[in-house]
């Protein structure tokens, strides 16, 4: 073989080798793609499901779930995430053009003791602080502690942040600094508050007590609702991606790091309820934020059981489920 031909062959072999190396070095993970649908979600745990898209314009995280119902009413978003009871109620009452597709949060409520109650048992006369009267936290507490509720000295505060103040200070400032025995809390506020009051402790998990009372059904706290105008192919792809993203995060909490890089801690806390360190701790400790994914149609029994806490909503029919 002449020298020229030899050199030409070497160049071809090197080129093929380079192509082969490039092809093999590619990641076996699927590429992250931006959100193809417009999404509105409440902040906190539901927003955490979209951790890969926090910097995208197609995702709106709103701190007030009632504002998201506005988007549902106007049909201006392809996907809305709402408290399951609020979303189903809106669909049934107003005939809105959405279907419940999946549940992504399964409860993050815990009853905490301040350290004031010497017998460390919830019983008659104990002073209990709840938040969001007549909303999900209050309704769940009444359900799981229904037998003792009337005997308790129950007082309400507006938000979980106010409840956290009661847990740390051991008193209710809004009630003349009355000593508090127990406080209903939500994560991650609970873990932060426990770190500030050495006497405080977690008394019980609302999720566990709910499961005991309902034969192991789940609290279907927040769910994904999809606009019926969205093409099935796009909806299925969206749901598949959300499921994969959630499972990836639950299997390895450190996954979140690369997606929140460059987002200030304060902004992150406003969106997903805490900074990256706090969120990772929640996930690594038995998934205390209650994140998960379950297709709604496969979970109808749990959804109906949860919604039975609101008698005015009634049982759901299959036509409001995305299939």
């Amino acid at each position: 073989m002449s020298r020229g031909k030899n050199m030409k062959n070497k160049i071809i072999y090197l080129g093929l080798l380079a192509i082969a190396i490039t092809a093999c070095s590619g990641s076996s993970k699927k590429e992250d793609s931006p959100l193809s649908l417009s999404v509105a979600t409440p902040n906190g745990a539901p927003a955490l499901a979209f951790y890969k898209h926090l910097k995208e314009g197609n995702l709106e995280i709103n701190a007030d779930p009632t504002n998201i119902i506005t988007y549902m009413a106007t049909g201006s978003k392809d996907v809305v995430v709402l408290p399951t009871n609020a979303g189903v109620k809106a669909i049934k009452a107003k005939g809105l053009n959405y279907q419940i597709a999946a549940t992504i949060t399964f409860g993050n409520f815990y009853l905490a003791g301040t350290g004031n109650d010497t017998d460390r048992a919830l019983n008659e006369g104990d002073y209990v602080v709840l938040f969001q009267q007549n909303n999900v936290p209050d309704i769940l507490f009444k359900y799981v502690y229904g037998d003792t509720f009337e005997q308790l000295d129950v007082h309400y505060v507006t938000a979980v942040s106010d409840a956290a103040s009661c847990l740390v200070s051991k008193k209710n400032i809004a009630d003349n600094n009355h000593a508090v025995d127990y406080v209903l809390m939500a994560e991650p506020a609970l873990t932060t508050a426990l770190g500030k009051n050495a006497d405080a402790y977690q008394y019980s998990s609302v999720q566990e007590k709910y499961a005991e009372k309902t034969d192991n059904k789940m609290i279907t706290q927040a769910s994904i609702f999809i606009n019926k105008n969205v093409a099935k192919k796009d909806a299925d792809e969206f749901l598949g991606n959300v499921k994969d993203d959630i499972n990836e995060l639950l299997n390895n909490a450190d996954t979140i790091d690369s997606y929140v890089e460059g987002i200030e801690d304060v902004t992150l806390a406003s969106k997903i309820g805490g900074n990256a360190t706090t969120i990772k701790n929640m996930i690594n400790h038995n998934n205390r934020v209650g994140l998960g994914f379950k297709k709604a149609i496969d979970n109808k029994a749990s959804i109906d059981s949860f919604l039975s806490l609101w008698p005015e909503i009634g049982e759901t029919s299959e036509e409001i489920y995305y299939q």
């Binding site: 709106e60 701190a63 506005t70 979980v160 942040s161 400032i173 932060t192």
Partner: protein, 237 residues
């Protein structure tokens, strides 16, 4: 400051209700040393300026019309009553439907600022010396030129009072609006929410942001003072 200090001590629970001024000032300086703070300030100020600017332009138009044609004041009165008395929270959902969450707060600022600015333009024109108006009518039958060259400059003291009283209120409203519209992207209001989520029992950063908002208004007031002096000299008002 001393009163603040004693109130915070009297509460006995430290930063849970009323942090001490020392803690707040320390946190304020710490926040002012971070670039993110200026992003929050910029977002809130920009939205305030947008809402305020649109309100001012509309107030000049409608206020000039009402000032020149008194019967129009009666026509506009019902609208002004609605704008002044309607609870803002009732309109949040409408503003979210009309625009996106980042811009909804601009509508809320407009809802607050427009009536105040409109009233100041109308009051300014109505309080011009009638002799000047009569003299103008002798000189010309035109409407627009006397309005722009004579009436509005003479109405300036009232308009400046309207601007001074409504801008600070607009800025405060913008911060509140960021919270009630649920915006989680940027702004001082969103920062307040973020700090509450980071640690619900620590009010020091919340008070620090309030102090930063006050400082911004003081700076704007100072700029307004110099602008007023310049305009006084230019228009001899």
């Amino acid at each position: 400051m001393i009163l603040w200090y004693f109130i915070s001590l009297s509460q006995g629970v430290g930063n849970l209700i009323f942090p001490t001024p020392i803690d707040v000032f320390e946190e304020t300086f710490s926040l002012l040393g971070k670039s993110a703070t200026y992003g929050w300030i910029g977002f809130s100020l920009l939205n305030t300026l947008k809402g305020f600017g649109i309100s001012f332009a509309l107030a000049l138009i409608f206020g000039s019309l009402a000032g020149n044609f008194p019967k129009l004041q009666l026509v506009f009165k019902p609208l002004l009553i609605v704008l002044k008395s309607a609870p803002t929270a009732a309109f949040v959902f409408l503003f979210l439907a009309l625009s996106n969450v980042q811009d909804a707060s601009i509508w809320i600022v407009m809802l607050l600022a427009f009536p105040i600015l409109y009233d100041s333009v109308v009051a300014g024109i109505n309080n011009i010396d009638p002799n000047i108006i009569d003299a103008m009518k002798v000189d010309t039958k035109a409407t627009l030129m006397p309005l722009v060259k004579v009436k509005l400059p003479l109405a300036l003291p009232y308009i400046l009072v309207g601007i001074a009283s409504s801008f600070a209120l607009s800025f405060k409203t913008e911060i509140m609006a960021e919270i009630i519209t649920g915006n989680t992207d940027d702004g001082l209001g969103n920062a307040i929410r973020g700090f509450r989520n980071l640690d619900a029992t620590n009010l020091v950063p919340i008070f620090a942001i309030a102090l930063i908002a006050i400082l911004i208004i003081l700076i704007v007031d100072l700029l307004g003072y110099f602008l007023k002096r310049y305009l006084k000299g230019k228009y001899s008002i």
